[in-house]
Symmetry: D2
Subunit: 340 residues, 4 copies
Amino acid sequence: MYSFRNDYSEGAHPKILQALADTNLEQTVGYGMDPRCQAAADLIRRLCAAPDAAIHFTVGGTQTNLLVIAALLRPYEAVVAAHTGHVNVHETGAIEATGHKVCTVFSPDGKLTPELVESVVRGHSTEHMVLPRLVYISDTTEVGTVYTRAELAALRACCDAHGLFLYLDGARLGAALTAEGNDLTLPDLAALTDAFYIGGTKNGALFGEALVMNAPNEHFRWHMKQRGAVLAKGRLLGVQFQALLEDGLYFELARHANGMAYRLRDGVAALGYPFPVASPSNQQFPVLPNSVAEGLLAKGYEFETDHAADAEHTCVRFVTSWATPASAVDTFLRDLAECR
Amino acid sequence: MYSFRNDYSEGAHPKILQALADTNLEQTVGYGMDPRCQAAADLIRRLCAAPDAAIHFTVGGTQTNLLVIAALLRPYEAVVAAHTGHVNVHETGAIEATGHKVCTVFSPDGKLTPELVESVVRGHSTEHMVLPRLVYISDTTEVGTVYTRAELAALRACCDAHGLFLYLDGARLGAALTAEGNDLTLPDLAALTDAFYIGGTKNGALFGEALVMNAPNEHFRWHMKQRGAVLAKGRLLGVQFQALLEDGLYFELARHANGMAYRLRDGVAALGYPFPVASPSNQQFPVLPNSVAEGLLAKGYEFETDHAADAEHTCVRFVTSWATPASAVDTFLRDLAECR
Amino acid sequence: MYSFRNDYSEGAHPKILQALADTNLEQTVGYGMDPRCQAAADLIRRLCAAPDAAIHFTVGGTQTNLLVIAALLRPYEAVVAAHTGHVNVHETGAIEATGHKVCTVFSPDGKLTPELVESVVRGHSTEHMVLPRLVYISDTTEVGTVYTRAELAALRACCDAHGLFLYLDGARLGAALTAEGNDLTLPDLAALTDAFYIGGTKNGALFGEALVMNAPNEHFRWHMKQRGAVLAKGRLLGVQFQALLEDGLYFELARHANGMAYRLRDGVAALGYPFPVASPSNQQFPVLPNSVAEGLLAKGYEFETDHAADAEHTCVRFVTSWATPASAVDTFLRDLAECR
Amino acid sequence: MYSFRNDYSEGAHPKILQALADTNLEQTVGYGMDPRCQAAADLIRRLCAAPDAAIHFTVGGTQTNLLVIAALLRPYEAVVAAHTGHVNVHETGAIEATGHKVCTVFSPDGKLTPELVESVVRGHSTEHMVLPRLVYISDTTEVGTVYTRAELAALRACCDAHGLFLYLDGARLGAALTAEGNDLTLPDLAALTDAFYIGGTKNGALFGEALVMNAPNEHFRWHMKQRGAVLAKGRLLGVQFQALLEDGLYFELARHANGMAYRLRDGVAALGYPFPVASPSNQQFPVLPNSVAEGLLAKGYEFETDHAADAEHTCVRFVTSWATPASAVDTFLRDLAECR
């Protein structure tokens, strides 16, 4: 049975495997200083309309988050994040392990607003408290929602007013930029954030994230090496991002994942199950009776069931990906109907 | 012209690429909890005759070193290493960034001995000094030398006498275990160290190291996640190590790399250039007149020239790999002869 | 006008100054290994009925908190604290600077309960999250409340059930142990916690806290030195704690501070001002109309006014100490009555 | 028998105790924001001819060293120190615990020179190595030697040429500035270093160091609080430094300590014992036959005997202080003569 557990259950899109095979015996220097990485970086700068941005390729999301935060903050400075923020909940204290507190604020839809950020800033006034200095957001958020251009611009203005960095975790950026209701573009992100990353792992790469940094950070490669984040055969990252971005494959894959999510969402909704938070992207969070969820698991479907909604219902998570076939969704929906 | 700069200049051995392609659309759980990683771990335990060892797969060497050291030591405890040790010189303070001092001792051949270790232990007697607690060695060393079984057993006894962990960095373990004069085996390493890793990156994998831990460390995966060292599509590591280890490819590739190094070494020596440290493995360090080194660079050869021997000579480094063709070595030797 | 800002506004009780003068020219070894510290440690073990406890003397509370937590936890382990906990709010991320996350839970009266602790434990189930490992409480709490023996015993049982350390911050332990309604004793604390400290700074010493550790921690002095927490003339701490504890001065001073707080509390209440949280100790938190608070400040009184209760009222803090004269309270109450 | 173990064996100079007693019942705000600290800071700025310097008061030397280094460096940056440097040997890895490597260079007299600093800088060229960024020196050094104005100016020029901070640990600054051969003044130190501290602990205070910072560091108090280095009754530090510095007591005490050291040195030398390193300050390091050293210990004298010179001789350390009476030195010399 199909696994809707995550968007990294398979390997890579075949075009990426092919690109790796095609370049396999080229000899290059290591550590991401090779022509493939340089070409991919140039391509990203072009797509972002950010000719002066520094581009760094990393292997995974937690690694990228801790690198950026540790590189931008001084020891007494802190992160502002939604209570659901990945850095707060699901990175085993990776940010704190670099010495920095994560100050959280409750946000039902997973998004930060200027008001929420300012409530944290106001609460930190003296040297007896950390100094909030970087706003961490993700697009899509942990609950699948996306930022509009106006919302992101408002956060930027708030950050400027309070001397804060704005960092956007783009683990699922493809899904965000191709979501219903999205009006953000890569150039918008480059213009409105101090740093963000284009997530490859969850959108068809074997692995890899492309960090776009506008914040000055001349020695970022020193940070990377110190954290064990420099890949010896760095060109693997350049090759993959070239393949993903040179002709729009990245967006095509994300659009497919979202499309499969909508197909699933609409089918689930037609069966009458509610979605407490409306997600326009490739993660869907319906509330199912426990008996239905157990029925699906018994059939062999895989998905997350972490959040009890009440004693008899569970808020589950279904994730679709670049590799999800429409037929898998349709079969699933038929099986779901049977579980009632 | 051929690059002798490093043993990670190419991609992966074709069998590994094929294995990745063959398993590409399998759906698995992430983070290394998949059947491929479990099978590779079982295989490694079998090859090491270490049925109780914990096996963890990581992406690179610096990452592995910092993980093991941070996991095994308490804050006030320190590492003992040769002055040339990779953790001391070439990891941008990665160990110190986890809070631990690296206590170094001078070693001309890059190896530690009980006497050298004890000289460090003796110098640290009170709470005003760090407590040496882990001996870091690598096989091969940074200068290409290898440990004998007797040498490693002596270090083990020394560590037992002083309550020290013994950790072996196996970035080039394939080259070590197939080197002239080597009498160590994987079961020896598992029996004599608290932890060691089987390096894949420098011996034919796209990336990846397989850590073998005997030291109890129930929560090592928490450490991994906290340092950003859990690969989402973890099965990539399992697939590669299965391909490398299931039928001896790992040793075959290393034997080839060493063979090419000997061919190069013998040719260079025949031209009269000295090797201050005799290396029986895939890194060779002859001393060349600067004019000769420059001549080779002018022809387009790539290799490291970091160490001036004197005003007119440079101790260079030539590295061969699983991918080095004999013809490249022969052409190089002809060109070298011409550079005189 | 009198300052009710804090309980460390003056120097030390005269008996302590005298003890320092009397021993001033004794030559002793440094770093707390001297006979004065040993005698004070023996005395504390006796008073705590804890013959095997390790006693360490430190200079201040934040220093003590970060030392204990960094010494007891492994990198991936975390602290559980009330949202008002000193380590969460008022130590500039000192705990995070040692690498550990502080997991907070909302508690209106500043106290933790087994239910609150378990709600945090339940939320942390996999290696993608930190592992809660130490429960941090303080007695008195940040809002002046105190634990009963039954409450502390229940926390101990909860900690035992979940493999958690229980650490009690005793910055105001004197005030707690002499508070109305308290039934805890030093031997109770030694029996029920893994570590706690007897706060000197806020109860008549120039400075100094006495840490009582039952949790095994053989190398705690290494931790202390590493964090810059070993006082060269360590005997200053021994001398002060001997003077405080040898004949009950410590409790006498705390009883006086509490008595002055009750006098102030009763007077304020008599004027009709409410106390949202009832505090039986030397910190009192009435809600005053802003005009009244401003009137007191205009007269020169000092006290904290950080928490707006609503647009027209402020929840202020008045702190009394070993040095507060009854006449200062009485004058203050008269002035308060005038401010209406 | 007299202890020559250290210069912090006694309490404080009586004038300091008196000042603490005189101000004991003043109510002040805490944390070093009080009028006493402000007056002491103004006095220090005046004595240093450094009207714009920031002055911070801390409790001890290791604490000060780790604070300055952690505040000035980014994560990948490192310290350059002599192999005997206090931060390298005697602080239990306090600097590494803040994440920074200490790069050492051998220096027989404990002093750094531009040549030694540059040898470290040259060896660190890429992102695979730490970036040396701060030169740590002490005056007096660990072996009692002192810097001349020309030597310090040369280091300053070297630091400027290489973009390095220059930080001077002044634990024994009084002894240095009053030593034979010294030509440095407080204004020189303020002009030539980025930060230095005036050590109180080893020159007559109960405790306390006064840090003079020219390097911009607006949020230094946040660093202090985060490291547990803010003293609640901060005014104790201000009171002591006022007493030490307002009328030259600080230099008078140091001159006395040095004078006693010279008396001891000359007496020891007259007996024919050699001093491998000539120290013009209050630490003296003669080489004694082991039998003589043991004879002195048997008589009850205390001093350090850490360094074996050869199988039959020990390089011992005698330290004099503000409190050492001439009679104690004379008695000691008579007893030494008897031990032959």
